[in-house]
């Protein structure tokens, strides 16, 4: 019994692997084309966003805040939030947008979400690496004190983003109201994302509230991983893990439900 089941699982994984590979290439060609730098455009947006905001902050806030470089601080906040905002806006109405692909049975709705998430993740990581290396060269970015902690924080941030996308994608198909609320919600949540402040800069009561946010916990992990002993961080990795699991379960159930009622032209 076990052997054929394992065999079937292996075959299915092979099919999904092929599908995701094909969808990635398709998505990259339709979005960025083959002209000039081609798919490298994927990292330009987070790069520009992080870079320009960092310059503005450098001008308005001076070179340092609470003892850490302002440019590095802003970059460390903006690249993750760009990942989140792009993923969310790209997964709204994703099933309708990809309707013609549902003609091929081996392509599942989850593949659409996964592919767009992976592309944004790739873009964000490439942008981070690119800008990080340049800034380290000019001594404006810290050499990561604990690269493992930094990557763990990034992964938790990304996985929580993915789990939110799993909810946004079916919810936006169920009700148009959801889609209209997405831009304002992602804007309102910025102060609660740990973007502008470290937990240690806040009053204890405010810190207590923000400690509930999975974004803040993951962001604190990333920054602790970057600056190490230079800063104090407050985080609990179980918070983003727990939130991710809960959101993913809800999201997967919704995806399954919505797929049944989806009408494809």
């Amino acid at each position: 019994m076990a052997a054929p089941t394992m065999g079937r699982l292996r075959d299915s994984l092979a099919v999904q692997g092929r599908v995701i590979h094909a969808l990635m290439i398709r998505e990259l060609t339709t979005r960025f084309g083959r002209e000039n730098i081609g798919f490298l455009w994927v990292m330009v947006e987070p790069l520009l966003f992080g870079g320009l905001v960092a310059i503005v902050w450098r001008v308005t806030h001076g070179p340092e805040e609470h003892g850490i470089g302002i440019v590095a601080f802003v970059i460390s906040g903006y690249i993750p939030i760009t990942l989140f905002r792009h993923c969310v806006s790209r997964t709204a109405m994703i099933f309708t947008a990809n309707g013609s692909l549902m003609y091929h049975r081996q392509i599942k709705v989850l593949d659409f979400i996964l592919v767009r998430f992976l592309i944004e993740l790739l873009g964000g990581m490439m942008a981070y690496l690119f800008i990080g290396l340049i800034l380290i060269f000019f001594d404006a970015f810290p050499m990561p004190a604990n690269i493992g902690l930094f990557l763990a924080g990034w992964m938790l941030y990304a996985l929580f983003t993915l789990s939110i996308c799993l909810i946004i994608a079916p919810a936006s198909e169920m009700s148009e109201v959801v889609e209209k609320f997405i831009p304002v919600t992602t804007y309102i949540m910025i102060p609660f994302s740990g973007l502008f402040s470290m937990q240690s800069w806040l009053t204890p009561s405010l810190r207590g509230y923000l400690a509930w946010s999975p974004f803040v916990n993951a962001m604190e992990m990333m920054r602790k991983g970057l600056w190490g002993p230079d800063i104090t961080a407050y985080y609990n990795p179980w918070n983003p893990i727990f939130c991710t699991v809960v959101a993913a379960v809800i999201g997967l159930a919704l995806c399954r439900r919505v797929r049944r009622t989806l009408s494809v032209e």
Binding site: V15, R18, I25, T29, G99, M102, H104, R105
Partner: protein
């Protein structure tokens, strides 16, 4: 073999609700060529989409014991902004076929030449039909789902389809939604009439066509 058991399909839009298929039970045996007959909006395309797995039934079950093509029709299956070649490459990837063989077959079957380097959205419906048929024939399915589209092709295309689908692949199954009674009489050996959400199967195609013409 494909079996549909107690298939119901309804669409809801806001508070409006339309039941398209009611309790459809059908069996499509290997090698059968089934015509789906019915007036506009009767649910032929809906049934084809359900069998192809593009949409899911509201209730009921569809089991497929052979490889079934995607519904070959006017819409779907292609990305309009990509070229014919890109679409072929995409399909080759997801169906795990060799792209070079597929490209050769598509070039030969479609006779579209340089047009294959243009985005599919610039194609006429006849050209799309050629591409869709070429790709699905290159993959070699056991059962082809055809939604109207044969009729949009020119003489040359219809001859090719006739040879490739009806003569060379005589052992394959086909489910064909069509309003052309001539095509149905010539190529199908079974028929299903969909009327008022109810599907009825007939072994005698001529009898079914006569009934359908009287609807």
């Amino acid at each position: 073999m494909i079996t549909c058991t107690n298939i119901c399909k309804s669409y809801t839009h806001g508070s409006a609700r339309k039941q398209v298929l009611r309790d459809v039970n059908l069996t499509f045996a290997a090698g059968s060529r089934v015509a789906l007959l019915g007036r506009n909006g009767a649910g032929k395309s809906t049934l084809i989409k359900l069998i192809g797995g593009v949409e899911m039934p509201t209730s009921g079950r569809i089991t497929r014991h052979m490889s079934v093509s995607w519904p070959l029709g006017f819409a779907g299956g292609f990305q309009g902004s990509l070229t014919g070649y890109d679409n072929a490459r995409f399909i080759a990837r997801i169906y795990n076929r060799d792209y070079r063989e597929m490209r050769a077959y598509v070039e030969d079957f479609t006779e579209l030449g340089r047009q294959l380097k243009m985005p599919v959205k610039t194609y006429s419906s006849g050209m799309r039909a050629r591409l869709a048929f070429a790709l699905s024939l290159a993959i070699e399915f056991d059962c082809y789902l055809v939604d109207e589209i044969i009729l949009v092709g020119d003489q040359n295309f219809q001859r090719k389809c006739q040879y490739e689908l009806f003569e060379k692949r005589q052992d394959r199954s086909m489910i064909l939604a069509s309003h052309s009674t001539e095509t149905v009489r010539d190529f199908c050996n079974e028929a299903v009439i969909i009327h008022g959400g109810i599907a009825t199967a007939y072994d005698d195609v001529n009898h079914a066509v006569d009934l359908y013409s009287a609807l």
